[in-house]
Symmetry: C2
Subunit: 341 residues, 2 copies
């Protein structure tokens, strides 16, 4: 495997051509202060003439930094949340990094082999920090990285007392707001289609549903809640079907994700129920840019851009300080009303 072509000019050659010392060239390429303007220009001319490009391995070795961060996606992230969610986060992260010299590296970790390889890559010092899209309780990666002392920021948390730095949406609050809105608009028989409860995000959203009922003094009927095995449309469809079978009087549903909501809508249509007139549906909105106004649904929208920006801010801060200050950020969600109620 070849790399920087043999014969690539080095800093030393630049220095020789410009008639200055290596230190001066180093200062120029790092725009450090304390270099006379004429000298700087002379060096820049030499750099241009030679087509000099700094060797980043050498810089890394001497400077103890990689000027790169990795954003890790597990296979399940990719599938579960779908593209739009992912796209918005990545764009926000990229934007937040624009004014820095930090290169963003996306990596896919699907198998144990890939995880091992990535951990070696990260621990080996090729990145200064790691952003994790992962949210699975069983994922060992966050702890591996944290134990290795690598600045790490997660999107979402694995449990209520997550130790690794994270940024999350206010899932419980958002769900509570949604259900409260349904109650205020006069709905009473409100079902819930939950995601898999071994995921903390699903747990939070279901908790929000329950809290809203409780706060309004509405008795919680366990048979109004269906736990899905995943967040897919198919699961939403099935959940909705069983829900209307058990509860013909149902007049509203809170779905823990927009894909679940989409499935629910379909099942309602198939059952001849009109939405939102007969049954109002509110979904938690993980994918919003994808489905413009498509199901005329009131949704709980997450501030995806803000989440990405917050992740970068936290990561950069952790990269500065040596004594890592663990921190958590929870961002508010927004209830976007269309014509549900």
């Amino acid at each position: 495997m070849g790399r920087q072509r043999p014969g690539t000019p080095t800093l030393e050659e630049v220095a020789a051509l410009a008639g200055v010392g290596r230190g001066t060239v180093s200062r120029v390429i790092n725009n450090a202060p304390g270099v006379r303007d004429s000298t700087r220009r002379a060096v820049q001319r030499a750099i241009a003439e030679l087509g000099y490009v700094p060797n980043l391995a050498a810089r890394s070795l001497a400077g103890h930094r990689a000027d790169a961060v990795a954003l890790v996606m597990t296979e399940t992230d990719w599938r579960m949340f779908g593209e739009p969610f992912f796209t918005e986060i990545v764009h926000a992260v990229g934007d937040a990094l624009t004014d820095t010299p930090v290169q963003l590296l996306l990596t896919l970790v699907r198998t144990d082999t890939e995880r091992r390889r990535f951990v070696e890559y990260a621990r080996g010092g090729r990145v200064d920090g790691v952003l994790l899209m992962s949210v699975h309780a069983a994922d060992p990666l966050p702890d591996m990285l944290a134990k290795a002392g690598l600045p790490t920021v997660m999107l979402g948390r694995r449990s209520g007392d997550e130790s690794v730095t994270y940024v999350d949406a206010d899932n419980a609050g958002g769900a509570r707001g949604a259900v409260t809105y349904l109650l205020e608009s006069g709905r009473r028989a409100i079902g819930a289609i939950s995601g898999p409860l071994d995921m903390y995000v699903a747990e939070c959203r279901l908790r929000g549903y329950r809290e809203a009922l409780e706060l309004s003094g509405v008795a919680a009927d366990p048979s109004l809640v269906v736990e899905g095995d995943d967040f897919t449309e198919e699961t939403g469809r099935r959940a909705m079907t069983s829900l209307i079978g058990r509860h013909p009087e149902l007049d509203a549903v809170f779905a823990a994700s927009d894909t679940l909501a989409a499935g629910a809508l379909e099942a309602l249509g198939a059952a001849g129920r009109r939405v939102p007139r007969d049954v109002a549906v509110i979904g938690f909105d993980d994918l919003h840019p994808a489905r413009p106004t498509d199901p005329p649904l009131t949704t709980v929208r997450q501030p995806l851009g803000e989440i990405g920006r917050a992740m970068v801010r936290l990561l950069l801060e952790e990269m500065e300080e040596s004594p890592v200050a663990w921190r958590h950020v929870i961002l508010r969600t927004e209830l976007v009303r269309r014509d549900t109620a």
Copy 2:
């Protein structure tokens, strides 16, 4: 910015603990031959005890390789082709790299800033090679990388005489086959909805359409061809609308992408034409895993997995040899019949 935590054990410390020289430790971690088994085990024990992880910057500097390759996506790739296309390629690439020590890095290049940063990253020796998803004629990146002597493989080509190594589907052949199939099934008034002709891929597909007509001795009517400004559904819809306006007798359409085809189908439905009974539609299938059997459409399918694997094979080969052998691979497409004709 911190990196490998201070206090990280070095190869030297491992050597000391194991009571051997640095060279021996190096041989062990690279599992080079010529180390006695007992020695090897002693070293491995020391590595485990210390929790040693090689410093990749140092390895890179001394070894002249990065053990990493980048897959670059431009903003337009990402949007234009959509997720499924992208996903399949990336998965295939990842799989092809599984048995190597090479880490796959996805990078997003949207702006000039990001392009500059990436070029410095790549030329700086942080990757041994680059895979480009880009297909835009105006994209300067391929030439920048090639000029820098970096092994580079493109997906698709920018023109008929592309100099950079690429892997491409047989776009002209696929289109020709599709239109021939329509002709053979008795259709005669066959329209074409083309993509933007400043993209070589669109040019090829349209050429295939024309060649099929010519081979069958059917006169080419220019008013049966609509050039879209992009590959979106909206464009497909508009193109189809204008097509049936001009040619009520139309009984088949070749669309240069599946999104264009989807738009065309919609417009046909809105116009009260039945598909495929009244009008047969064949699309070139860029996204197939996404739309399982959704529009009951015969499509020209690209071997996405093979494309990804071929890209990796070519890249690895270029990384081996010093005298770069420019090469191009064009893979056959497949006509997947559903009930179009």
